[in-house]
């Protein structure tokens, strides 16, 4: 590739990370399509560290200061803030290379935060920055390059003109910025793909170089449209280069303690992963048949929870297709190494037809979303769809769920072949569904463009443009707050209704996954129990996002005696791993926290994020929508798939099913469950210290120490006496 033109350059002296922090953030302003590029090093205060910790917390705080209540996702003020957190970058303990990207989302029109592995965040920290703030819009297509080795940040005019998709761009930039083949591992690239130029499902691909396979691998911050924001800013890629990485680069207070804790977990993984979750051989795709067994696999837009063809997408089928025996960690030191990849895979469609590529994944979410949920039980198809989605920069989960919605609309006759540009979008139609993905990427076909704006917009446009029945679409569309649900069927677990639909950012599974605890183990019999779980787990899970950790080594591997030493909900918390995290945090930062402090750290940020959404005109009870499909059967075929089970549910509700038609039964069960939903909402809000309208109270923000004047002013405007629980 020819040398890229430097549009702006800034030199700095990289700060060294001590106790997990460099105490400086990088601000890059792209101007307002006027070439006014700016760079700044911004200090990180003690207050910022105390209240917002790092990662997602830093992202939210910086974004709050950058935007106004009326800022839209595509305004220049919107930012993408990428930050790892204090633990991000250690190599002794598995799963410590994660970062969060925070931005205003085109899909949900409020804050979004999306996590990814790869080397970007650790390299950024070792280049001197706890966070990277990107604001403005470039006047041409640019690449922003942080050279941590030489202390320079550059805005370069991109000369990648032909293939602007993720694998092509990433490979090209690893080569361009590396001195030689060996140096490629010192580069990390964040890119999207051509779909992100018009789709709201644009994902961000974070790279790391795999020296054994000699390819750049991609991990996605998939959800919420971060890739769309990146492209809207005129940024083809962000690149960081850092050649000096050691086990002590974060400057930990007690490196020996880290080694000891890491050694313990590595041993657990070695000894028990094969009999527990098989993360090293299959990754998260081990869940396919398990979800099917428990009626949780989304089939045909979540109508059903299992399918006779499950054998075709059984994890053994994926295991055969993944390269084995490779250390597939997405950051140094992750021996859980779930980042599975295929051996060279020959593509059969699209612009790269006939090429052999290494495909990252599919992970469970993709295997289900671009599999059973669209009625396709063919791993080869799913692997190809996964490849193209990543390459084009499309979030595979929203694509799967959104496309499943389209298929159901098509089969119900709400839209037809004339509307779809000639595609027969029935469940299971592999060729036409693949063609839809290619059309979404191309952005030239009107129907594909509508689809790629997301399910919430589809409902509106399908009804206005094609006359599709809005009520039916509201019933069946599995979206909350504008975000498509991830790939679990939650109907039969009241707690999981909350785990999906009482979340900060929409039905993503990274707050609480309570289905087993609630539906199978029956450990949450009362609304108070469910509310407690919907307090603890979202806060505990949020803590990972503050410090730069991957969730998987917490509970996808557990100590051999966890299941006998602890009982009930305590066992699900995996207490020894929680203690590991307490000790790791202390060993890095030199602080002296206890396990209760982890929840206290998270609660501040959880509430701050909720208030941020209130500031953006959302964040109230009405925004916590839950579709009827999320609560139970909508159509007769769904009921008739498990008639005795659902009759039993009616009886439990005190309704005698005898004499009722299936339609009447569905209506009665839906009404009953809607009432249960409202009860759940009240209990959860009360437990979280919010009022009936889902707004944190003044007492809550004072208790948490986030009662900043602008926060208090906003709350005083929105808290109404009639919404109080008191």
């Amino acid at each position: 590739m020819e040398k890229m033109k430097t549009l702006a350059e800034w030199k700095y002296t990289p700060a060294v990370s001590r106790l997990g922090y460099t105490r400086e953030t990088l601000y890059v302003g792209l101007g307002n399509r006027d070439g006014d590029y700016r760079f700044e090093k911004r200090p990180v205060s003690d207050e910022m560290i105390d209240k917002f910790i790092g990662g997602r917390g830093f992202g939210l705080r910086l974004l709050w200061d950058a935007v106004k209540p009326e800022t839209k996702w595509n305004d220049p003020e919107n930012e993408i803030v990428i930050s790892g957190g204090p633990i991000c970058g250690i190599t002794q303990y598995p799963g410590a290379g994660k970062c969060y990207s925070v931005f205003l989302s085109p899909l949900t029109e409020q804050t979004y935060n999306s996590n990814a592995g790869g080397y970007f965040a650790p390299f950024l920290k070792f280049s001197g920055f706890d966070a990277f703030e990107l604001q403005g819009k470039a006047d041409r297509e640019v690449i922003v390059f942080v050279d941590g080795d030489n202390g320079t940040v550059q805005v370069l005019e991109s000369n990648i003109t032909e293939d602007k998709n993720a694998y092509a761009v990433t490979e090209c930039l690893h080569e361009y910025f590396a001195n030689d083949e060996k140096d490629r591992k010192n580069i990390s690239v964040v890119s999207s793909g051509q779909a992100a130029a018009h789709s709201f499902w644009g994902c961000m691909n974070f790279s790391f170089y795999d020296p054994r396979r000699k390819v750049a691998r991609l991990k996605q911050a998939g959800r919420g449209g971060g890739g769309t924001v990146l492209r809207d800013k005129g940024v083809l890629a962000l690149v960081v280069k850092m050649s000096h990485v050691t086990g002590t680069s974060v400057g930990p207070a007690n490196p020996d303690a880290l080694s000891k804790l890491g050694g313990k977990l590595h041993k657990e993984i070695r000894d028990f992963d094969d009999v527990q979750c098989q993360m090293r051989t299959i990754g998260t795709a081990h869940l396919n048949e398990i979800m099917n067994d428990y009626d949780l696999l989304p089939v045909h837009n979540y109508k059903f929870g299992r399918h006779d063809d499950i054998g075709n997408i059984h994890s053994t089928e994926y295991k055969k297709r993944f390269a084995q025996g490779m250390p597939d960690g997405c950051w140094y030191g992750c021996s859980l190494s779930c980042a599975k990849a295929t051996p060279p895979f020959k593509l059969t469609t699209g612009p790269w037809k006939g090429r052999e590529v290494i495909v990252d994944g599919p992970e469970y979410e993709t295997a289900a979303g671009l599999g059973s949920n669209v009625g396709i039980f063919d791993p080869e198809w799913t692997i190809e769809a996964n490849f193209y989605a990543d390459h084009y920069g499309i979030d595979t989960i929203s694509l799967g769920t959104g496309t499943a919605f389209v298929c159901e609309c098509y089969e119900l006759g709400l839209i037809n072949r004339e509307n779809t540009g000639g595609l027969e979008l029935k469940f299971g139609n592999k060729s036409d569904l693949m063609e839809l993905i290619h059309r979404i990427a191309a952005g030239t076909d009107e129907f594909a463009r509508i689809v790629s704006l997301g399910t919430r917009k589809m409902k509106k446009i399908f009804s206005e443009k094609y006359g599709a029945d809005r009520k039916t679409m509201e019933d069946i569309a599995m979206e909350g707050q504008g975000l498509e649900a991830s790939e679990y069927r939650c109907q039969e677990s009241i707690a999981q209704w909350g785990g999906y639909f009482l979340t900060l950012k929409g039905p993503q599974h990274d707050e609480a996954w309570l289905i087993f605890m609630d539906m199978v183990n029956k450990q949450l019999p009362t609304y108070e129990d469910k509310a407690e779980a919907l307090f603890y787990f979202p806060n505990f899970r949020l803590w990972f996002s503050l410090v730069g950790l991957c969730k998987l080594p917490w509970n996808d591997i557990e100590p051999e005696d966890n299941h006998t030493k602890y009982k009930g909900i305590e066992a699900a918390k995996v207490p020894e791993h929680v203690q590991n995290y307490v000790e790791i945090y202390n060993a890095v930062t030199g602080k002296n926290v206890v396990k209760e402090d982890l929840i206290a750290m998270s609660e501040k940020v959880y509430n701050f994020e909720r208030i941020f959404n209130l500031r953006m005109g959302k964040g109230k009870r009405a925004d916590h929508n839950c579709p009827n499909r999320g609560l139970g059967p909508v159509f007769e075929d769904e009921w008739n798939a498990r008639p005795e089970y659902f009759d039993g549910k009616l009886k439990e509700a005190g309704i005698e099913p005898g004499g009722l038609s299936v339609r009447e039964k569905i209506a009665r069960l839906q009404t009953h469950r809607r009432g249960q939903w409202e009860q759940l909402v009240d209990k959860v809000y009360a437990r979280r210290g919010w009022n009936r309208n889902g707004i944190p109270t003044l007492e809550t923000v004072r208790r948490l120490g986030i009662d900043y004047p602008d926060v208090v002013e906003l709350l005083e405007k929105n808290l109404k006496p009639e919404d109080s629980f008191a």
Binding site: V275, Q276, C277, L287, E289, I290, D293, Y294, Y364, S486, Y488, H509, D510, W513, L514, I515, F516, M517, V520, N521, K522, Q523, F537, K551, N555, D556, E558, N562, H563, T564, K567, G568, A571, A572, V574
Partner: protein, 66 residues
């Protein structure tokens, strides 16, 4: 008759913990099994651990997923 997570299940002679898991289609690997409040110590022994008639069994699935 035995109880599994509160639901009744027919008991039969020679029944093991693994039989109970199979009948309930509890295929998730990270479970803990408690019989009348006592834990079955080793996951590898489910197939040889007998289930007496009349017991209450708890099969606790550790939260996973995501």
């Amino acid at each position: 008759m035995i109880k599994v997570n509160g639901d009744e299940l027919d008991w039969r002679e020679g029944m093991t913990v693994q039989d109970v898991l199979d009948e309930k289609k509890f295929s998730f690997p990270l479970v803990s099994v408690w019989i009348n409040g006592e834990p079955v110590q080793r996951r590898g022994e489910y197939a040889i651990t007998p289930v007496p008639d009349g017991v209450e069994i708890e099969v606790i699935h550790m939260m996973s997923g995501g």
